[in-house]
């Protein structure tokens, strides 16, 4: 019975969390924008045949038209609409993987650092700080330039190398404040071991923070992927939003009047950033008690 109650309680915590989130207008707007582009891309990617993005499949440099190429074609004779759907999915995949690995890894490291304290904490904190002070884009440029065959997965893994430090620092701070709370003492007195305490007592308290952090990490990863691609070390064989900009820049689409080529990824990126940022802003309002009180 006891475990059932606990499950019930956790489920209701989650439910309450979602109710709170979706009653926030900013979050709901961001979420709707975000889901819209994902669903459109999923359907679009499914509908368009693979050869639409093969080099030389169509007449190059066609402006947008209603006879098959809604967003035109590029100088390599690829359909831009089909590229866009694939690029959105690939960029999101990179963002989600990097954010998931980074948040998970960072939370574990941060928890360990905050919970253990002492020498372990001192060492981990210095390592976290060291990773935060290294300029990640520059570093990733080097690694990606040597590892010649990067694909969506390896870019995601590379980004994870740097996406764990920020969550780790925050998870550590959270743990430091939570572990002194009464309910943690209670749990310890009742004979729970460290892992049980962390998973059953502390996790629910930081779940909200983790989701907000996750959104931010997705945004960062998509941003950095585009940066890497523009530097010329992106996943050359695949199509991401960053790679679309890279090819457009490489073929001087900007100054040849091929506006449909570069505008498509650029404005999609802006759209993605805004939707993710709105979600983050909304979560901040809901989860951050100080902001919530201000709003009344």
């Amino acid at each position: 019975m006891l475990s059932y109650n606990r499950l019930e309680r956790r489920a209701s915590t989650l439910r309450r969390l979602f109710t709170m989130l979706f009653s926030n207008r900013i979050f709901t707007l961001g979420f709707t924008l975000f889901m819209t582009i994902i669903i459109i891309s999923l359907i679009g990617n499914h509908l368009f045949p693979q050869e639409f993005i093969r080099v030389g499949n169509f007449l190059p440099n066609q402006p947008p038209n209603l006879e098959g190429h809604l967003l035109g074609t590029d100088s390599l004779g690829r359909d831009i609409t089909a590229q866009l759907f694939m690029a959105v999915l690939n960029s999101l995949q990179i963002g989600l993987i990097a954010a998931a690995v980074g948040t998970a890894l960072g939370t574990i490291v941060g928890f360990m650092s905050g919970y253990k304290g002492g020498i372990v904490d001192s060492i981990l904190r210095i390592v976290i700080d060291a990773f935060l002070s290294i300029p990640s884009l520059i570093f990733l440029v080097l690694i990606a330039s040597v590892v010649k065959t990067v694909d969506v997965w390896s870019v995601a893994m590379l980004l994870s190398m740097f996406s764990w430090a920020n969550p780790a620092r925050q998870a550590r701070a959270q743990m430091l404040s939570l572990k002194e709370r009464d309910f943690v003492y209670m749990a310890r007195l009742s004979g729970m071991n460290s892992w049980e305490i962390v998973i059953k007592e502390i996790m629910p308290h930081i779940f909200a923070w983790m989701t907000a952090n996750f959104t931010n990490a997705v945004l960062w990863a998509i941003l950095t992927e585009s940066g890497l691609s523009i530097m010329g070390v992106g996943p050359q064989g695949e199509i991401t939003l960053g790679m679309m900009i890279y090819w457009a820049l490489k073929y001087v689409a900007l100054f040849r009047g091929l506006w449909w080529w570069w505008m498509t990824p650029v404005f999609t990126l802006i759209y993605l950033f805004i939707s993710l940022y709105l979600m983050h802003l909304g979560m901040d309002e809901v989860f951050n008690p100080r902001l919530r009180d201000k709003r009344g």
Binding site: A130, I134, P135
Partner: protein, 334 residues
């Protein structure tokens, strides 16, 4: 001062560890990569007989100490680093990498310091006025909304859009380079004006993207200060509104902004790599980009290491100096 000493030790350790980690990775990555990057790169540059390439590769490896085992190489590499030797470029063989970087550095630092300070001044002042007017003014509310947009959109997106608008549609500004080709770089008025003219669009892309943050943070700071007792007191004394804003509220709200400015100065060398790439601006970012295209690994390695070093060092310097300036900063304790 005991806690400051502890803080100092921790910061120094962090700096040393980040540099040690970076140097090790920069050293290891090309050596562990499949194939022989140096040979491949040389084969691309030198068109000629096989023995010629073999000889150059051998010579090159001897210069870099690549014919020894990994540990010896590593020690040699670090020794050379301490002497300021980052190796030799392949593109511009046999120019030392450090010389090429030094030629690019003034461009990057010049562009970023100017834009960081400009956007800070503009953002802070408009933000102060917006915060003072409060949330009632429709004009400033719209401005805050725009600032949020500017803050979310990354600088290279602005760079692309600006290049299109003012380089292609309305052709007022040049599209690439740091100065008109053929002009001799010197300290005369003509050259300086030419550089400013070429730097306008790259600068604008950075200013636009950082402006939003300065505006928003100053605005919220002023709104907070407005609720303080001393403002009420000043109002009760019957001081003019403008005087209260600039002499009372502004002065109190500016300190966190100054901290923000100091913190953002850490990116003064490597903060605009992509703008440089998009406008072919002769800074370090564009240097790395051309080195990647030409597979000039020593140059990529050297430039990357140089950027990491300057960023980490500025970070470190700001961290240890700032508590001395502002005693309210606590030494890295949560």
């Amino acid at each position: 001062m005991v806690s400051y000493r502890k803080y100092l030790v921790e910061r120094t350790l962090t700096f040393i560890i980040s540099m040690f980690f970076s140097i090790t990775i920069v050293f290891l990555v090309p050596r562990l990569a499949p194939g022989d990057p140096i040979k491949t790169a040389l084969e691309q540059v030198i068109v000629g007989g096989g023995s010629e390439i073999e000889k150059t590769v051998e010579e090159y490896k001897r210069m870099l100490g690549l014919d020894k085992d990994l540990a010896t190489q590593y020690i040699f590499y670090i020794k050379e680093l301490f002497r300021g030797n980052l190796g030799y470029s392949i593109m511009y063989f046999p120019t030392p990498v450090i010389d090429i970087i030094m030629r690019a550095i003034p461009w990057s630092i010049g562009l970023l310091t100017t834009t960081t300070i400009l956007s800070w001044i503009i953002g802070t002042f408009i933000g102060a006025i917006a915060g003072w007017r409060g949330e009632g003014s429709r004009f400033f509310n719209i401005l805050a909304f725009i600032a949020l947009g500017l803050y979310v959109i990354p600088y290279y997106i602005f760079a692309v859009i600006l290049a299109y608008l003012f380089g292609y549609i309305i052709r007022i500004f040049p599209l690439s380079g740091g100065y008109t080709p053929g002009l001799m770089p010197s300290l005369n008025l003509e050259f300086i004006l030419d550089v400013i003219w070429h730097s306008t669009l790259p600068a604008l892309s950075i200013i636009l993207s950082s402006l939003g943050w300065w505006f928003l943070s100053m605005r919220s700071m002023i709104i907070n200060v407005k609720g303080e007792d001393f403002i009420l007191m000043a109002e009760a004394k019957g001081l003019r509104k403008n005087r209260i804003l600039w002499k009372y509220a502004f002065r109190n709200a500016i300190l966190p902004q100054v901290t923000g400015l100091a913190l953002s100065l850490r990116n003064v060398v490597g903060g605009a790599l992509l703008t440089e790439v998009i406008f072919a601006y002769p800074g370090v970012g564009y240097l790395i980009f051309t080195a990647i295209t030409n597979m000039d690994y020593p140059l990529i390695q050297g430039a990357v290491l140089f950027l990491i070093f300057t960023t980490c060092f500025l970070n470190f310097a700001i961290d240890i100096l700032y508590p001395l300036v502002d005693p309210r900063i606590r030494y890295g304790e949560e």
